[in-house]
């Protein structure tokens, strides 16, 4: 019991350490920012003061037009994510189920994965126009390959012994899938979810910056073209914060099943 308490204590210390690192990183970021300005290393024309950018960010999050853009992007990101992740996992499992399709399709998946997806964006515009479906479609396309490949390695991480134990105790196929495969694959799949979100958001923001009527990417692109640096930097800060929050949340889940990997 005291061992448990000390483990918990150590975890608490680690968490506190984590927060300290975070705060430290933020302090260094804003410190260098202010220092670069006051030392005259960067012109305020290129880099507005941090305080001004933060004030603009605070302004932005209360402006209905900006919140509208956020809503559009979030909707695109969410739909693309909810399509791409299950689709990638289902395809990965289906391909791996068959030896024949494994041999035919796996190399193709890896080949396509190595092509930068951005060059296909014009094709999506031609196929879907400048629409919600085009953004989602491109998001899915940007994401599905990394999920597929992660699913392959998640399946490989399932131990033969673990499956054999379940069979020896009379498990049905369904029980083996849910009680052995799923938990065995969970750590790798969580990592896939994290990577998927990064690929997905990147794809959708790019699609919005390239051609869109609304959305965060479109807003950021417009601010850039119109030299609205405060808004531009505030937008970047907000998107970065949201992305980091999501990634950290998934990493927290990953850490919780860390000992499954042994």
């Amino acid at each position: 019991m005291s061992a448990d308490a000390s483990t918990r204590g150590a975890a608490a210390t680690r968490r506190a350490g984590g927060w300290a690192v975070w705060l430290g990183a933020l302090a260094v970021l804003f410190g260098t920012w202010q220092a670069a300005l006051s030392l005259g290393l960067l012109s305020p024309m290129l880099l507005p003061p941090a305080s001004a950018v933060l004030a603009t960010a605070w302004d932005l999050v209360r402006r209905p037009d900006f919140l509208g853009d956020v809503g559009v992007t979030l909707a695109e990101v969410a739909v693309a994510f909810l399509v791409a992740v299950p689709l990638g996992i289902a395809l990965g499992v289906a391909i791996s189920e068959s030896d024949y399709w494994s041999r035919v399709l796996r190399p193709i998946v890896f080949l396509v994965f190595s092509i930068p997806k951005t060059i296909f964006l014009p094709m999506f515009i031609l196929a879907f126009g400048i629409t919600f479906a085009q953004k989602v479609g491109f998001g899915v396309f940007s994401t599905v390959f990394i999920v597929l490949i992660s699913t392959f390695s998640a399946l490989e991480s399932v131990k033969g012994d673990h499956v054999r134990v379940a069979r020896a105790y009379g498990a049905t196929r369904r029980q083996i899938a849910l009680r052995v495969y799923l938990p065995s694959m969970a750590p790798v799949l969580l990592e896939a979810v994290r990577l998927a979100m990064i690929f997905n958001v990147t794809g959708i923001l790019l699609a919005e910056m390239y051609a869109a009527r609304a959305g965060l990417g479109q807003a950021v692109a417009t601010w850039g073209q119109n030299y609205m640096l405060r808004e531009l930097l505030a937008g970047i800060l907000l998107i970065a914060a949201a992305a980091i929050l999501f990634t950290e949340a998934v990493r927290w889940l990953e850490a919780r099943c860390e000992h499954w990997r042994t």
Partner: protein
């Protein structure tokens, strides 16, 4: 052979469908194992390999049988067949009076090499796993798993995850899992191979204690001659591929076995006999 002495209980035609009034409810499941003409061949890399040939076993309920042989002799395959996990190419396995064609957890519990515990489940949940597959009510599940963990000396470790347990403790959990459905037969596939010498010996003692307490039929696969002679009633010696049974040695050392017996001339003699059998086969 002790086969004649094995009273095979009634085994009315199982597929008959007509529920014989009381016979059906009777547990006709003793731990006898009878293997006849067992063969196993498999194709790998375009070549057909014969792994097991003409295996015949006749194990009376409650016996402790150890199978030894050089690595690659198919002793683990044989055990997987006894567990119903691998279908033999030819031959027949009759267990508890019934032909064995698929895993039957009511009849056979299996303990695998090294840690085959699920790392995402606690010790308690790992032991409950076979019961939960069959939807045994939670309260009963908890109680039975607790009892078996206590039997293997792990009371108080119910909530530990496998990574928090030592190698020996993990195999104790595996044994508890093998026993939780109270099958008359327990199969163990080199269960202590990954353990250090001291842990290995004390785990052997533990297993003998559990065996004496529960009266299971035990089939234990190992490549350690010392382990074989220390644990067994009977040692089945197998040859290298294709695996055949080349000798059956009755171990007449008294029970309970003690560490001191390993120093006796009889123990040395037994080991010597098995070793010569294995070596003569390996040369051939």
């Amino acid at each position: 052979m002790a086969g004649k002495a094995t009273p095979l209980p009634e085994a009315p035609s199982p597929g008959a469908g007509a529920p014989g009034p009381s016979l059906r409810a009777l547990p006709s499941r003793n731990g006898s194992i009878r293997v006849t003409g067992l063969e196993h061949t498999y194709a790998a890399a375009g070549r057909v390999t014969k792994a097991l040939e003409d295996i015949r076993l006749d194990i009376a309920p409650g016996r402790f049988v150890v199978i030894v042989g050089p690595s690659g002799c198919g002793k683990s395959s044989l055990l997987m067949m006894l567990a119903g996990l691998v279908a033999p190419t030819a031959g027949r396995i009759v267990c508890g009076g019934r032909a064995l064609t698929a895993p039957d957890p009511d009849l056979v519990g299996v303990v695998f090499q090294e840690a085959s515990l699920y790392p995402w489940l606690t010790a308690q949940e790992n032991v409950e796993f076979p019961l939960s597959l069959r939807r045994v009510p939670r309260a009963e599940r908890t109680q039975r798993a607790r009892d078996k963990l206590a039997l293997v000396g792990l009371a108080g470790f119910e909530d530990r995850y496998p990574h928090e347990l030592s190698g020996g403790m993990k195999q104790r959990v595996s044994i508890a899992r093998g026993l939780v459905q109270n099958p008359p037969v327990l199969l163990l596939d080199e269960p202590f191979a990954a353990l250090d010498e001291q842990t290995r010996i004390s785990m052997g003692d533990e297993l003998l204690r559990i065996w004496e307490q529960t009266g299971k039929t035990v089939v234990f696969v190992t490549h350690s001659l010392t382990e074989a002679a220390y644990l067994a009633d009977q040692i089945v010696v197998m040859s290298a591929r294709p695996g055949r049974i080349v000798d059956r040695v009755e171990v007449d050392l008294p029970r309970p076995r003690t560490y001191a017996m390993m120093g006796t001339p009889r123990f040395a003699e037994l080991r010597q006999r098995i070793w010569e059998q294995i070596r003569s086969q390996a040369d051939g």
